[in-house]
Amino acid sequence: MVAAYPDYKEAVAKLVEQHRKLRNGRLHLAVYLAPPKRAKRDIYLFELIEDFGGGSIDPDKKLFTFAYGSTPGFPLPPDARLWMILTNPAELDHAIQENWKRLHDLRQSRKTGQAIVLHADAMGKKFWNKLK
């Protein structure tokens, strides 16, 4: 039996809590999501971090997305991967205004009720509302 969304809510919430402490008030938004057309066994986490990438904006208009397997801090079954989508407020603002392609996963997850906000401060809420 392969675990799927939202089975990892508790584990992802713990990871987000670690990130919240690590970023020391600079983590604005963290969302555990399940994009409709992605592998069901994988876990997807979107985070908006104040100075991610030094506050840079990707010239190729792609939100920074990467995958990783099991780690000591976030154990996963074989073949399952943790996908993270990381951005900063300036970049997300651009992405929303210019409708970058990778926002589609976020919007679709939200639209289909496959997204759980695990952390949001005032700025995070503002951006999450813009992603409706």
Binding site: F52, G53, G54, F66, A67, Y68, T71, G73, M84
Partner: protein
Amino acid sequence: MTLPRAWMQQAESDFRTAQRVDIHGDTRSRCQAISKYQQSVEKSVKGVLDKLHDAGFTRAHSDSRHHVARYAEVFRNIPRTRQTGDLLNQLARLFTDAVVEQINLLDSFVPQYPAAGALAARNHEYPFQRAPLDWRAPSDEDAFSAGELRRIRHCAGSLKVGLRRVFDALESLFP
């Protein structure tokens, strides 16, 4: 603050300083801009390397030497999967042959005293020689070309952004 994070913060500061002295048309300050771009690259590379070391990916860690092209091979050879989205693949992809070539060039510009009997090599800080009696200063108008500076600027800029993103991602995976 951890050592890797301190490297990354200083790399950012070096890059901003490089941008301030990288003045179009001011040929005599090219050496200053190249010096700060080189320092930015060196520190970004060392920051990511030390983060990988702390996370247990590699036994290599930064040392006192300024030359960092040797670490590109570490980044390219870390065991990883075939999936393009893998973070370590993204790290390896930053170090294309062209980027490594520029890092080698930057490494060669780090000042060092010549071996006995050798000419002082061109660098961004100390006087150097084109012939035994022909001393030049790095701030000479023709010490560095506009093309060299343009390529170095591009290399340092792309590594600053790319390595910082990978570093932040590693911090998220290995807090």
